[in-house]
């Protein structure tokens, strides 16, 4: 009796802890689930969409194509775009949707440590032999590894998917170049362009720089000397200039003059080395931390908190939309607490390309999704209005940059598009290799040891090479 009483008590204690948590939820604000938000935007878009577009999509359904559309991705960004902006898409549950009588199946694999690439590498080669309903029909790729799939035989040319090159006239050329294989065949299309800016915390700018006006802030970060001087000032006031050393990586590395691997040899470009030096100086001076990108610490800077108070983040429009948690009322973004300036150096970061898989049994539908998301002016404009992404459409973006009615609420009502437009024109992604994701992850991991004083630069570099060769046995250094 006594024994079961004690174990019973333990169970009750735990249940009590759980119930205590449920207690006051009624009166509290509910965080809006991403799905709800997506549904709302979808309603808005469908209203905005021309009748003709919806009819065209309806017309596709019922053709002699596969009953299941399998889409692979590494996060939910593309899913939310299709759900909100592809006419006729209905959400069934988190991993399934419907377009007419075609079932859409989403397979999401996180990209960290090449997990997503490994998933694609094992499913794509079997695609030809797979049963029709199991075939990968389309998938998305980040800039860090998109060339690997564009240059492979496992992706379909957009011509085969029914898209004419002329339809891409409004896109930024670099996005088309990235999606073009070694033979000049276009395979991948993107709905976004990714020029990066410096996104600063307005409250901190006011306190330390005296004003949160973009012109004042830009003056304070116009080059690396000014940037470092501002970093020192911020340190005096109890802030760090960035969340971590890694925040600066893309700024430098995107300006590298050579690819990260040349003829099978791992290369450390001067810009990459410059990143190491700048970051080490900032870390040693207590002007930044060593929080890794995407981590919880890094993420804390998007919310008012006492532990991590970075002045700025470097990133493209998707970082503002996707990471800054504007849908959470308590975040800095929700209160328009950010501003954007060019920063010390122009750069670009990431981007998502849509690719049709070779052997897809839904070529028309795949092609149409690509067309609607990457070439339809109305859709792309709506994406910008809804979520402030930077759409891959020059005329639309240039027009909106001049539109006095458009402003970004996250950026405190600032219209940052002129800045993004200027940046987008300068982007070149000619240095992309199939190794970029591994290179980026491993050099950041290895150099953290150097920044934190656990290794010399040479030792950290040695470990970086080691990790790279473990990941890519064919490389040397």
């Amino acid at each position: 009796m006594k024994k079961s009483f004690l174990s019973g008590m333990l169970a009750v204690m735990m249940a009590a802890t759980l119930l205590a948590g449920c207690g006051g939820s009624a009166g509290q604000k509910e965080t809006k689930a991403p799905e709800t938000q997506a549904a709302e935007t979808q309603a808005a878009t469908e209203a905005a969409q021309s009748e003709g577009g919806a009819e065209a999509a309806e017309g596709l359904v019922g053709q002699d194509e596969g009953a299941v559309l399998n889409i692979h991705g590494w996060n939910e960004e593309f899913k939310s775009r299709v759900a909100a902006y592809y006419p006729g898409y209905e959400e069934v549950d988190a991993n399934t949707g419907k377009i007419g009588n075609v079932t859409v199946k989403w397979t999401i694999t996180p990209s960290t440590d090449n997990a997503y690439q490994n998933e694609l590498d094992s499913s794509l080669p079997n695609n030809a032999a797979a049963a029709a309903d199991d075939k990968v029909d389309m998938f998305v790729c980040d800039a860090d590894y998109v060339v690997k799939y564009v240059q492979s035989e496992y992706t379909a040319s957009i011509a085969d998917l029914g898209i004419d090159e002329a339809e891409l006239a409004n896109q930024y050329q670099y996005t088309i170049d990235v999606g073009t294989d070694q033979n000049g065949t276009i395979k991948g299309l993107s709905w976004q362009a990714c020029p990066g800016v410096l996104i600063y915390n307005r409250a901190i700018a006011k306190e330390v720089l005296g004003s949160d006006d973009p012109a004042t802030v830009q003056e304070a970060v116009k080059d690396w000397d000014a940037f470092n001087a501002t970093a020192a000032k911020l340190k005096e006031a109890g802030y760090t200039i960035t969340s971590g050393a890694d925040d600066l990586y893309r700024v430098f590395n995107d300006n590298a003059s050579q690819p990260c691997v040349v003829d099978g040899k791992i290369v450390i470009d001067d810009q990459t080395k410059a990143w190491v030096d700048e970051a080490k100086m900032l870390v040693d001076g207590g002007m930044t931390n060593t929080y890794s990108l995407w981590g919880d610490e890094w993420n804390k800077g998007f919310f008012p908190n006492t532990e991590n108070k970075p002045f700025c983040y470097f990133g493209p429009a998707w970082l503002i939309d996707f990471c800054m948690a504007a849908d959470d009322a308590s975040s800095i973004a929700a209160n328009g607490g950010w501003g954007a300036v060019e920063g010390p150096m122009g750069f670009s970061w990431g981007g998502t390309w849509i690719l049709g898989a070779a052997d897809t049994d839904n070529p028309t539908l795949v092609g149409d999704i690509m067309r609607v998301l990457t070439t339809n002016d109305e859709t792309m404009k709506q994406i910008v209005v809804d979520v402030n992404d930077f759409a891959n459409n020059k005329p639309v973006m240039n027009e909106m940059a001049q539109d006095p009615n458009y402003s970004d609420a996250v950026l405190g009502g600032q219209n940052a598009l002129p800045m993004f437009c200027a940046g987008a024109e300068k982007i070149s992604k000619s240095n992309l290799t199939i190794y970029d994701q591994g290179y980026t992850e491993e050099i950041q991991k290895a150099m953290k040891n150097y920044f934190e004083g656990n290794a010399t630069y040479e030792e950290a570099l040695e470990q970086f090479y080691k990790a790279m060769i473990e990941k890519y046995p064919e490389l040397t250094h």
Binding site: K3, S7, G21, C22, G23, Q28, N305
Partner: protein, 284 residues
């Protein structure tokens, strides 16, 4: 602690020390659960503001967000339950059988085989993982739970425990008595040996269940389809920031969710595990 000193220590003093240490250990054991449950009830924004010792009100919200997400956690729970339960049953039954063979019978190869099993006890499963992976691929058992269940039949560690236990609880005379009564060998094992081994089986069933429940290495190499994944793989996926758009509240709820069923199972079975140990002592 020298002999002299402690011989002078009264039972009372020793009891106090024992209680202090036990309470300290209880704290060390439960503190993390406490933090986990507190954090599971807090929203992401609250979590990013730092730790507070009091629960908040977002448990249901976090749970709903998690359930509405792409992680098939209920599927994962079912998969984990299938693998762990089947492993526990098969592993204890066949390990007892193996131990019984060595304990009761006298045959030529007995000592060789016994030593052999003891020797292979030290082979970590990870050492054969590569070949195992290729074998599973050839058998077309990838994304199947079978390769996680069947191999537990050959579990030298459980065998060793069973053998040790039999040495103290299962006299050969008992089996001989059953033979004189005319019972078949297989029946004798099932009706005489197994019931006697119940305490040991309960203990090892729990160990096997838990280790199988917690297993991460092998399932991660075999299961690639979300529908087939077990909980630890889904948990590890949370580490990747792409998944939940950095919502730590969901992460904590997910961890709590993966721990809670085991705690319930344990609370039900703990009577057997602690009681079973006590039973063993009566015998000694």
């Amino acid at each position: 602690m020298s002999d002299k000193k402690s011989s002078g220590m009264s039972v009372h003093a020793r009891r106090i020390i024992a209680y202090v240490v036990l309470i300290l250990m209880t704290f060390i054991c439960l503190f993390w659960f406490y933090v986990l449950f507190i954090n599971a009830t807090r929203s992401h924004a609250e979590l990013s503001r730092g730790f507070t010792p009091f629960p908040s009100s977002y448990l249901l919200t976090n749970w709903k967000n998690l359930a509405a997400g792409t992680l098939p956690i209920l599927r994962g729970l079912v998969n984990s339950l299938i693998v762990s339960t089947c492993s526990a049953v098969l592993c204890t039954y066949f390990s007892t059988m193996t131990a019984y063979a060595i304990h009761i019978y006298d045959f030529k190869m007995k000592h060789v085989l016994y030593t052999f099993i003891l020797a292979i006890m030290m082979i970590p499963t990870q050492v054969t993982a590569l070949g195992f992976l290729q074998l599973v691929g050839k058998m077309h058992l990838e994304n199947s739970l079978i390769p996680l269940i069947i191999p537990t039949i050959a579990s030298p560690v459980t065998f060793f425990y069973m053998k040790q236990y039999m040495d103290s609880t299962l006299p050969g005379a008992l089996v001989e008595a059953a033979r004189i009564d005319g019972a078949g060998e297989f029946r004798t094992f099932n009706t005489i040996a197994l019931p006697l081994m119940r305490p040991a089986i309960a203990v090892q069933a729990i160990f096997t269940f838990v280790s199988s429940w917690n297993n991460y290495f092998t399932p991660a190499l075999i299961l690639h389809i979300d529908k087939k994944k077990t909980l630890p793989i889904l948990i590890a996926q949370l580490r990747s920031a792409d998944y939940l758009k950095f919502d730590m509240g969901q992460v904590y709820v997910m961890i709590a969710f993966s721990i809670f069923p085991v705690i319930i199972v344990y609370l039900i079975l703990s009577k057997y595990i602690v009681g079973g140990m006590a039973l063993g002592s009566v015998k000694g």
